[in-house]
Structures are given as C-alpha cells and as structure tokens.
C-alpha cells in the first residue's frame, strides 16, 4: 500500500512502473485525430458527390482511399466506414 505524499525508493519505483508507455502507433493515431477528422469530412463529402467513388469505397475502402491519394491511419477506418454507411 502506498501512502499518498510519503515516498520511499520502492514506492516511487512501483508508481513509475505503473504507467508504461502506450504503443507508439496508438498515440500517433490519437494525435492525428484533428487532421484525420478533416480528411474524413472531405472523403464523406466526396462520396456524397461522386457515386463511383462511393461504390469503390464501400467495396474496398482502403484501396479506394489509396487510389484517391488519402492517407488515413488504420485506427480511424472503422469510424470512416460507419460514416460512409450512414
């Protein structure tokens, strides 16, 4: 049991060890959110205006995005799929 405000080397070591870094890719994807949101808005707008692009995206989202020059982290694809299906 660690008593708040009172630290020895062991308790400090335990507290420092309690927070290992999250995987770098997870952190990077979360930091990319603002840019990804803007890009997703653009993709959704394009899908609404371009039936061919929409059909390609519904069939193979990653392939359609790559072909159109979009760069969306895999972590954001489920949200984009949801938005395109709505």
């Amino acid at each position: 049991m660690i008593t708040k405000g009172q630290y020895d080397e062991e308790s400090l070591g335990k507290l420092l060890g309690a927070l290992p870094p999250a995987p770098e890719g997870w952190v990077a994807a979360a930091q990319e959110l603002p840019r990804a949101r803007l890009e997703m808005d653009d993709i959704v707008a394009r899908a609404e205006a371009d039936a061919e692009f929409r059909a390609a995206a519904m069939k193979d989202l990653e392939g359609a995005l790559e072909a159109a020059g979009y760069d969306i982290a895999p972590a954001h694809l489920p949200v984009l799929r949801e938005r395109l299906s709505a």
Partner: protein
C-alpha cells in the same frame, strides 16, 4: 513555456482553440493513463484496449468544448475510459462469459493508484539532467542498465547510482508538494454526457 509544463486546464483551453500542438500534448500526457486503465485495471486484450484507447481520445476531442471545468479533464478521461472498458467487457461477456468479473472496488483502488502514479510521472519533468529519462526508462520501460547507458551515452556502471540519486531528487520534489489531484475513484465528481 513548453507545453509539457502547462497545467492541464491550460492545455485543454488551447485544444479548444484548435491548437494541434496542445492536442498532441494532451494525448501524450494521458496516453499512459488510459493505456494502464484499459490494459492493467480492466485487463482488456490488445485489440479491445486499442479500440477503447482510440474511442477515449475521439470522444475527448469531440466533447472538449462541453467540459464544464477544464481542470477536471483527468477525472473526466478516467470516467470515460472506465465506462468504455465496462461496456466492452459486457459486450465480450455476451459472446464469451468472463472467468473473473472485475470488482468495482478493486478498480477504484487501482485507478486511485494510477492517479498518484500520474502525479509522480509529472514530477519527472522538473528533474534536472537525464534524471526523468533515466527513471522512466528503468521503471516504466523496463530497460536494462546497458540499454539506458547506450541510449544516453552514459557508462552502464553509473546507471544504478544515478537511479538512486534521481529517486532521491524526485522524492524531495514530491514531498511537501500540495496534492494536485482528487482521486478518480469518486464517481460522483464528474459527469459524462
């Protein structure tokens, strides 16, 4: 002033203004905390933990403008993470019954310990020289003396004594400091829409 030294409330205020660097700092500041809640407190598998991790920051980004108290960002994130973990476990248990359900009292205590751990980690930022990095590499990243020595260009034989010295500095810095945090274990303090 470096963003890393700003108070949580100031980082939140800058995020609300659309400052990308502040958002990077907010994610960086709470990423370990969210990761520890998902992976250590609720023991989600990697796939579920990553989904919850991304969902926590997506909702934080969407709702940061609705936060009633910018200083409450940490307990707000803690409550959101807990709720998403519980939802995920419930959904999974419908498909496959859980061996051992998580006791809410146990998770309260574990998150309270993480609150304290986060405060200690913040203390690393104010330490001189390589102290913060040495302590983080040794205790949080579980790196060997040799790896730390190579990374920081220090003789491996000096790492143990540096760790001890740096722990002393950290202890000195933390003791007497006014507690910044209310424990997140109190579920009544923060509401999430």
């Amino acid at each position: 002033m470096s963003l890393g030294l700003l108070a949580d409330a100031d980082v939140v205020a800058r995020c609300r203004e659309g400052d990308q660097q502040a958002w990077n700092e907010l994610v960086s500041r709470f990423s370990r905390y969210v990761y520890a809640i998902t992976s250590r407190v609720y023991r989600l598998g990697d796939h579920d933990a990553e989904d919850v991790f991304q969902e926590v920051f997506a909702r934080t980004y969407e709702r940061i403008g609705e936060l009633r108290d910018d200083e409450a960002i940490r307990p707000w994130i803690a409550t959101l993470t807990r709720r998403l973990c519980v939802d995920r476990l419930r959904a999974d248990s419908r498909e496959q019954p859980m061996d051992e359900p998580i006791d809410p009292g146990e998770s309260d205590n574990a998150i309270e310990m993480l609150d304290e751990a986060l405060a200690v980690h913040e203390g690393l930022k104010a330490l001189p020289e390589h102290c913060g990095e040495i302590l983080d590499r040794f205790f949080a990243r579980d790196e060997s003396y040799r790896t730390i020595g190579e990374a920081l260009d220090l003789p491996p034989g000096t790492i143990a004594s540096r760790i001890s010295r740096c722990l002393g500095k950290l202890k000195g810095q933390l003791e007497g400091r006014k507690p910044r945090f209310q424990p997140s274990g109190d579920r009544t303090e923060t509401s999430i829409a």
